[in-house]
Structures are given as structure tokens and as C-alpha cells.
């Protein structure tokens, strides 16, 4: 081994790794992240003190410990988090033997890969900063490593800054090629291979089940769920029910989806008078469902509409997805209910919630008509002391009884669940629908922002003549929830930073995020085709797009080559010098070329000797230039430049 690598090369490489790994480190258990950072710290110290690499056996056993930690941390579950954590651990292990140029380079270049993997988890606008800073530091590390090879870098602060600057320029010059490729690289309409479900490790968002607390957990999460743009005015707040999983099965605490929920609907939903056309920008939630208004007429090509009018994508949504959908709110869902479905929609677990069952029987006696019964229950919710609260108490075996008669305070999932149980006990077919309700109308951006905190649950009851009909018990308890959004139902801030001005800033930032999503993240096959269409190139096949990309790439590279390879010229230092060069250019146009060895005055003499018109003025200007440039009359500069501008030799 020839000497140890210099400190700056190691330090930049370690920095590149720590920055690229930062989001991954934040997502893994603290002790695992700590272990990785400890290795980084050791490497820096070793570079500073000039330590040699540890013996191979120690390195090997520490790597083994790292792998064990991974297994402990992720319990053998193989997902993307596990894979990236493994990559981080392997790179940290590599760092222990990172003492040659080759190893340093390897670590620095894999940093780019590490950065790219982070975008499998999050592609928000803020991560553009991460991308830029991460790439910059990795590029700096690569140039430092190259310098270490060439041994040209003096280890001064100025040399270090020059290195940072040249790496920044290098990165900046990569932009034209990168953007060309980004715009024209043919996108796939279909993924190359399916995405295995195991790689989805789940993240916050609506789940396919509903148990007490599952939705109120989302209430604190202000991150966007999706954004919607409407053709025409947006529907009023009480119509903004974004349909997600439809739940039929109830085991006493948890509502879940029925076996047929993935089957395609056989009902044809026609367009109606009040049809709504809108485009949704869905944040990745790793589930298959797409949120739509009631009742979807059509959506994106690859999606199907299920029996319950839920829209299901073919693949889990792992990256920002844009789709257009049409909904007809006037559609009557299932005018006839089969007996099988009726049985399923009125089924309740045995021996549970006796008080609720009694109440249902009592209500049934008083109101023979289903509609009247429903109204009575809603009236009861409204008039009795029911509260909408974020901090519901845990419920026991007879959860619905406790809720309806003792606690009377809960979140939307409690009301939806209790209402469904009550209805089913009274013999009315009922199901629970989860999804989002409301959203914040961004008037400036002309789109509706729906946050995770807008997650909601409501019911659909089957009524003779109107089919499945939406009933929202929460609206009876807290009309503000529906009219003004989820945030309005709680007095005071939900948490420390829940202040109005911060909320305003967030809304403003979301508008930029919206544009980012639309133009960068949502740039897919369809959008690429649309972009090309706008350029007058419609109906391009993938091959043609590839050829176009090559052509544009050639053009861009040509311009870049010209820019990079053109000879560097000495820049005139002063205004007078610039004016003098301009003057010489004017003379050149008339065949009078100043020889390099000639002084300005000698040239003026030669010009005079040629008997050119304007020679006098030229001589005067030359003298003036000499006075400014060599003498003590810099004050004449402006007069000189003015003279040059007016001068025209005949």
C-alpha cells in the first residue's frame, strides 16, 4: 500500500456518504444509525491521525455484526427499508477498508445510488435540495480523490474552495444533458416487471381496515394525500367525499373488506347531467386504490372499478401518480339488493353490544320506515351530548355500547362504526366507506389539497328506491367537520407548531409542491406524449422518441463541446482596454491590422502613412488611450469610449 489517502479526500467521501445516507439513517432504528455513524467517525479520526486499516478479521467480524443488527432491526422482513439499510451497513463496512483510491471512488459513486434509492420512499420537492447537495458533495469527493492521485492539490483552504467551485461547475454543466434525457428518455407505459408486494413496507395513510384509532392517528398528519384539479368549479364541501376502501365485515372491533372487493363492477355507470371531470395527483401510498368521488364513471386505463365503486390500480402506487377521472354523483347504486348481499350487509357478530341491539329494536318499533329511522338516529346524535373528539378512550368487548351510552365522545371511525352496528341491528343493510372528506381549496393554484388529516369514514345504507345512499353520522355530530374541514373541529392547536401562519406557509409551499408534482414527478409516458404533441410530434412510438432523444442529445453535446473546448481568451481588464479592442476591430474591418509588435502610436503613424481618412482622429484616440493606459489620465476613459463609439474610418 502506497501511503495513506490524504485527509481531505477521506473527509469529503465520508461527508458524501453521511449526506446521501441521512434520510435512510433517520428511518432506521437509532442504534443502527448510531453504529453506522460511529464507523464514519472512526474513519475520519483514522484519516486525521494517520491510522492504518484494522486487521481483516476484525473488519469481517464487524461486518458480520452489522448484518446481524440488520436482521434484528427488521426482523428478517425483506423490504425496501431493509435493502437500503443493508446498503448503508455494507458501505460503512467498506469504509473500514477504504484506504485506496479504488475504494474511495467506489464509496463516493455508490452515494449516487443511495440518493436514488431514497426517492423510492419520498419524492417531495424538499428532496430536490437533498439531491443537489448530495450529488455536489459526492462530486467534490470524486474530484478530491482524483487530485489525490494526481497529487496536484496543495492542501490550502483556497485550493479546497477551488475544488468545491470546480465540482459545482462540473455538476452545473451536467444539467443540460440530464434535463434532455429527463424530458426525452422514453418512459414505459407498463413496468418492466411486477412490483412484488413484499417490498411495500407500508407507510402512513389509509389502511384497508378500520378499527378505533386507525383514522384519528392520521389526524395529526398534515402531509398531502392528493391534490385535485377540476374542470369547472369544485363541488361544494359537503359533496367532497373521496371514496376509498369499502368495508363490509365487522368482527366486533375491526371493519374489513369483503372477499369480493377486488372484483370488477358489472354495473355500467353512465355520465350524467352533473358529471364531474377532474385530475388527481396522488401521493404514493403503496396501496392499489385511487381516490375518486362518488360514483366513478371512468378512470385511468389500467385501473378497474370494483363492485363497491372503488377504483383500483393494477400496481400499488409507489410513485406520484396522476390520473383523470369522471364521476356521476346522480348514479343510483344497486336499485335491487340480492339476498346474499343483504345478509352480508346486516350481519353482526353474536353476543356483542346488547344495549345497542336493544336500542335498535326499540327504534324499529317506533319507525317502520327506514328513512325515518335513520333520521331519528341522526337527530339523536345531534341533540344528545355527543362530542367529536380526538382523544377517545379505549373500548372493550362491547365497544359500540360503551361508546353510544357512556363515553359519547369519539372520532369519525367511532361514529361510522356505531352507526353501522345500530343500522344493521335494526335490519338496514349498511356498509362503512373510508376515504377522505373535504380538502383545502387553493384558490391561487386552482386545486384542492387533501391532506392525510382529512381522512374520514362514513356509511352507506341501502334504501328502497335510492340504492346505496351515503349517510355521514359525523356530520350530524359536528357539521363543521364537513363544512370547514377536519382542523376546525378541535379548538386550539393540535400540536405545538399548529399555528395559523405556519398553516398558511404550508399552504403556500404546497402550491409549489403541486407544480413540482405536475411537471416533474408526474412526468410519465402520457405526459411525455402530450409534450411532444405540443411540439407538433404526435403519435411517436418509443423507438422514435429514442431517436429524437439521441438527436437532441447530439445537439446539446455539440453545444457543450463547443462551450467547453473553445479556447479561453484573456479578458480585457479595463473599460479603456475594451474600447481600444473595439477600435482595433473597426480598423481591421478596413484592412488595417495592428501588428503585435507595434505600439498604439506606431500603428497610428502607419495608419497616417497610408493616407486613410480619419487617421487624424485615430491618432488622437491612440494618444488618448496611451495616456489612460500608461499615463496618469484615467479620467479620460469615458471620453475615450465615447470617441471610439463615434469613430468610423472611411
Amino acid at each position: 500500500m502506497k501511503g495513506l489517502p490524504p485527509f481531505n479526500a477521506v473527509a469529503w467521501t465520508v461527508a458524501a456518504f453521511v449526506i446521501a445516507a441521512a434520510p435512510h439513517l433517520l428511518a432506521m432504528p437509532v442504534w443502527l444509525a448510531g453504529a453506522i455513524l460511529a464507523v464514519c467517525g472512526w474513519r475520519l479520526l483514522a484519516a486525521h491521525r494517520g491510522w492504518r486499516p484494522p486487521p481483516a478479521l476484525l473488519r469481517l467480524s464487524l461486518t458480520g455484526v452489522g448484518l446481524l443488527l440488520i436482521i434484528v432491526a427488521f426482523g428478517g422482513f425483506w423490504g425496501r427499508r431493509t435493502a437500503t439499510a443493508l446498503l448503508c451497513v455494507m458501505l460503512a463496512a467498506k469504509m473500514m477498508e477504504m484506504f485506496t483510491m479504488r475504494d474511495l471512488r467506489l464509496v463516493a459513486s455508490v452515494c449516487f445510488f443511495l440518493i436514488a434509492t431514497q426517492f423510492l420512499f419520498n419524492e417531495r420537492l424538499i428532496y430536490l435540495v437533498y439531491l443537489v447537495i448530495g450529488s455536489l458533495v459526492a462530486t467534490i469527493a470524486l474530484t478530491r480523490i482524483q487530485d489525490m492521485h494526481a497529487r496536484t492539490g496543495q492542501r490550502t483552504r483556497k485550493a479546497e474552495w477551488d475544488g468545491v467551485r470546480s465540482a459545482a461547475i462540473l455538476l452545473l454543466m451536467a444539467a443540460p444533458v440530464a434535463l434532455t434525457l429527463f424530458a426525452l428518455f422514453p418512459r414505459l407505459a407498463q413496468p418492466l416487471w411486477g412490483l412484488p408486494d413484499q417490498i411495500m413496507d407500508g407507510r402512513t395513510g389509509l389502511s384497508d381496515e378500520m378499527s378505533p384509532g386507525s383514522i384519528s392517528n392520521l389526524f395529526l398528519d398534515d402531509s398531502p394525500a392528493f391534490r385535485v384539479e377540476f374542470d369547472g368549479p369544485p363541488p361544494p364541501p359537503d359533496q367532497r367525499y373521496w371514496r376509498g376502501p369499502v368495508l363490509w365485515n365487522f368482527d366486533g372491533t375491526t371493519w374489513s373488506r369483503p372477499f369480493f372487493s377486488d372484483m370488477p363492477s358489472r354495473q355500467f355507470v353512465p355520465e350524467g347531467l352533473h358529471s364531474l371531470v377532474y385530475r388527481v395527483q396522488l401521493e404514493p401510498h403503496e396501496r392499489r386504490w385511487l381516490f375518486v368521488l362518488d360514483f366513478p364513471v371512468r378512470g385511468p386505463e389500467q385501473a378497474l372499478i370494483s363492485v363497491d365503486h372503488q377504483m383500483l390500480n393494477r400496481q400499488p402506487v409507489t410513485t406520484l401518480m396522476q390520473y383523470e377521472a369522471v364521476s356521476n354523483p346522480d348514479f343510483v347504486d344497486m336499485p335491487e339488493l340480492s339476498s346474499n348481499l343483504r345478509a352480508l350487509a346486516t350481519r353482526l357478530p353474536d353476543n356483542r353490544n346488547p344495549r345497542t341491539t336493544a336500542l335498535a329494536a326499540e327504534l324499529r318499533e317506533r319507525h317502520a320506515d327506514d328513512r325515518e329511522l335513520i333520521q331519528a338516529v341522526l337527530r339523536w346524535f345531534r341533540e344528545e351530548a355527543f362530542y367529536y373528539s380526538l382523544r377517545p378512550s379505549p373500548l372493550g368487548r362491547h365497544g359500540v355500547d360503551e361508546f353510544l351510552f357512556d363515553l359519547r365522545s369519539g372520532f369519525c371511525e367511532h361514529y361510522a362504526s356505531a352507526f353501522a352496528v345500530l343500522m344493521r341491528a335494526a335490519g338496514i343493510p349498511t356498509r362503512v366507506v373510508t376515504g377522505y372528506q373535504g380538502g383545502f381549496w387553493q384558490a391561487n393554484g386552482n386545486y384542492l389539497l387533501v391532506r392525510q388529516s382529512d381522512a374520514h369514514a362514513w356509511n352507506e345504507v341501502w334504501l328502497e328506491g335510492s340504492g346505496w345512499t351515503r349517510v355521514d353520522p359525523t356530520a350530524a355530530v359536528s357539521p363543521a367537520r364537513i363544512e370547514q374541514g377536519a382542523r376546525s373541529v378541535i379548538d386550539g392547536p393540535r400540536h405545538l407548531l399548529d399555528l395559523d401562519w405556519i398553516q398558511n406557509l404550508r399552504n403556500r409551499y404546497d402550491r409549489i409542491q403541486h407544480l413540482w408534482n405536475r411537471w416533474v414527478l408526474g412526468f410519465d409516458h402520457a405526459r411525455q406524449q402530450r409534450m411532444l404533441e405540443r411540439l407538433g410530434l404526435s403519435g411517436m412510438s418509443t423507438e422514435r422518441v429514442a431517436v429524437l432523444m439521441m438527436l437532441v442529445l447530439l445537439l446539446v453535446s455539440g453545444v457543450l463541446s463547443w462551450f467547453l473546448l473553445r479556447p479561453k481568451r484573456a479578458r480585457p481588464r479595463s473599460e479603456a482596454e475594451r474600447a481600444w479592442l473595439a477600435l482595433l476591430k473597426k480598423m481591421r474591418r478596413h484592412g488595417l491590422v495592428k501588428q503585435p509588435q507595434e505600439t498604439p502610436l506606431e500603428f497610428a503613424e502607419r495608419v497616417a502613412g497610408r493616407g486613410v481618412e480619419g487617421a487624424e482622429e485615430f491618432a488622437e484616440l491612440a494618444r488618448m488611450y496611451c495616456r489612460i493606459h500608461y499615463g496618469d489620465r484615467p479620467d479620460e476613459t469615458s471620453r475615450f469610449s465615447a470617441g471610439v463609439r463615434q469613430f468610423s474610418p472611411a
Binding site: S109, A150, R187
Partner: protein
């Protein structure tokens, strides 16, 4: 294969200095690290395309942009570089010759991380704007004669080591390698018996002829001829130079030795000895006869004749 490559390179432009590197003479290929990064890029591309992950794609394309620029920059680092001349002082066989290569950077840009490579020797250096430099590359020598070093490679892998640009050139002329002098040569052949060209008797070694000349600063005191100075009223010193020192006849045919190489080695040693003793000598190599003469140029002429024999 090698000859074919050499011819192909020669067809593309000048191959010996003075020369200016232009695009036809500059070659470029990815380094091993470059291939590795290419593989990494491919993995990133496939993953991002499959997940339709646009930021992942953007990262991949940024790396692609970096790579394509680093290709241009590696090329730029060599383009218009001037190799002015090459040269090496002659050495005795077995010594290491220093091949001096003069380079000129006519541009206003710095050229960092340039490398000159000849066989296993590698020199790394940088050229500032409009800077000239002379780089020495050691060349091992084994046999007397003219040594033609192989192709010299001027190369660079700036700015981040993804691509290596290089150009080949040959030295202007080969390096002269003198014969290795014999380590223990027989004594100089002072007694020449049948030389017809001999004009005067050799004096014995004890006799020392000297002339007198005026004192110059630096002459040691013991050389001052005190008595003569007294006579001439000025300081005179004994001059030890011997204008009529005995001439040596060094003849290849009469040099002892088993074979030609041994005899050449002995002759080389004798020539050097004669030069050290400041005696005039004639070198007779059969067809070539040099001298009688003495001094540096004569020595070089003789050594060169011995090298070329």
C-alpha cells in the same frame, strides 16, 4: 498487431515532437472505474424506470451528464498540448538515462493531472496557463548503441477519473548508449612498437615537461616558479599542460580481450582514462580512425564510434 497499430497511429498525424496534440491523435476510453459507474447507472436506470420514479431517473441522468462532461474535459486536458522536443544525454550501458520531454501549454487554462508513461515509468505533473515544463522519465539501458524507447503515452483522467484520454508519441531520436567500460582494464598501451606514424620518443613517466606563464588568480603557491619570477619581475607559474604529451594509439585490433564486446569495453575504459590524463589519443576501429586529438568533443566522438560499432 503492434506494428499494425503503430502504422495506424502514424497515419493519423505526426508521431514525433515537435507536435501539437489534436483530435486525431487523442484517444479516449472509459477507465475501469468508468465502467463500474456505467454499471451502477444502468442499475439505477432500470430501477427508476420500473418504479417510474422520476427523481431517481433525474439522479441517473445527472450522473450521465457528469460522465459525458468528464469525457470532454479529459479530452480538453490534452487538446492543443505541445510536445516540443525530447532528448536524453548519452549514458553508459547499464545506467539509467533521463529522457527529457519538453511540453508547452499554450492555452490560458490550467492542465492538471497530466501523466507521462513510458513502459513502467510514470510521471504525474500539472501545467499552469502558458507554462512550459521539462519532465524527466528514467529509461533503463542494457546494451550499447542507439536505444529507441517505445511509445510514450501522455495521458490524463481528469476531472474525476471516469475516462482516460491519451496520445502516443515517439522520441525525436533514439538515445545514445555508450558501451559499459571494463571494470579492471589492462594498463594503457604506452609502448607502441610498430606504429609508423610515431614521431617522437616517449619520455619516461618521471619526466615532467612544463612551460611558464603569467600568474593568474587561483594558481596555487607551490606552482609559482620563484626563481624565474625573480628574473622577469613578475610572477610566473609552471604550466602543467603538456602540448606535446605522448600520444596514445588505441587500436581495436591490438586490444586484448576474448570477444569484441570485451575489447570494446576495454577500449572504452582506455579512452576514458586517456581523457582523464588529458593525453591525446587516436582510436582505430579498423574502418574508422579518429584522432589524434583530445578533449570533450573527441571523447564523445570516440564513445559514439564505440557505441555504434
Amino acid at each position: 498487431m503492434r506494428r499494425w497499430l503503430d502504422r495506424w497511429i502514424a497515419r493519423r498525424g505526426p508521431t514525433r515532437p515537435p507536435m501539437t496534440l489534436r483530435y486525431r491523435q487523442i484517444f479516449i476510453l472509459p477507465t475501469r472505474f468508468g465502467w463500474l459507474l456505467g454499471l451502477l447507472m444502468f442499475a439505477m436506470l432500470m430501477g427508476s424506470l420500473n418504479f417510474n420514479n422520476n427523481l431517481g431517473l433525474l439522479t441517473t441522468f445527472i450522473v450521465a451528464g457528469l460522465a459525458s462532461n468528464s469525457m470532454l474535459l479529459a479530452f480538453r486536458n490534452l487538446q492543443q498540448l505541445k510536445i516540443l522536443r525530447t532528448g536524453a544525454a548519452p549514458v553508459f550501458a547499464g545506467q539509467t538515462a533521463q529522457l527529457m520531454i519538453s511540453l508547452d501549454n499554450p492555452a490560458l487554462r490550467e492542465r492538471p493531472g497530466l501523466e507521462l508513461k513510458l513502459d513502467d515509468s510514470l510521471r504525474i505533473f500539472s501545467l499552469g496557463p502558458q507554462e512550459r515544463a521539462e519532465i524527466a522519465i528514467p529509461v533503463a539501458t542494457h546494451h550499447r548503441g542507439w536505444l529507441q524507447p517505445g511509445r510514450i503515452r501522455v495521458q490524463t483522467s481528469q476531472p474525476i477519473g471516469l475516462f482516460e484520454a491519451w496520445s502516443w508519441f515517439w522520441t525525436e531520436r533514439p538515445i545514445l548508449v555508450w558501451p559499459r567500460p571494463a571494470e579492471r582494464p589492462p594498463p594503457l598501451p604506452d609502448q607502441a612498437s610498430d606504429q609508423t606514424g610515431e614521431h617522437h620518443r616517449q619520455r619516461s613517466d618521471g619526466d615532467e615537461f612544463f612551460s611558464l606563464r603569467g600568474w593568474r588568480e587561483g594558481d596555487p603557491l607551490h606552482r609559482v616558479a620563484w626563481k624565474a619570477s625573480q628574473r622577469h619581475d613578475s610572477l610566473l607559474v609552471r604550466d602543467l599542460r603538456q602540448p606535446q604529451a605522448r600520444e596514445l594509439h588505441l587500436d581495436l585490433a591490438r586490444t586484448p580481450g576474448r570477444d569484441l564486446e570485451t575489447r570494446i569495453a576495454v577500449l572504452t575504459a582506455w579512452v576514458l582514462q586517456a581523457h582523464r590524463l588529458e593525453r591525446p589519443w587516436t582510436l582505430n576501429l579498423g574502418g574508422v580512425k579518429i584522432g589524434p586529438d583530445r578533449g570533450e568533443p573527441h571523447l564523445h566522438a570516440c564513445l559514439r564510434a564505440l557505441a555504434e560499432l
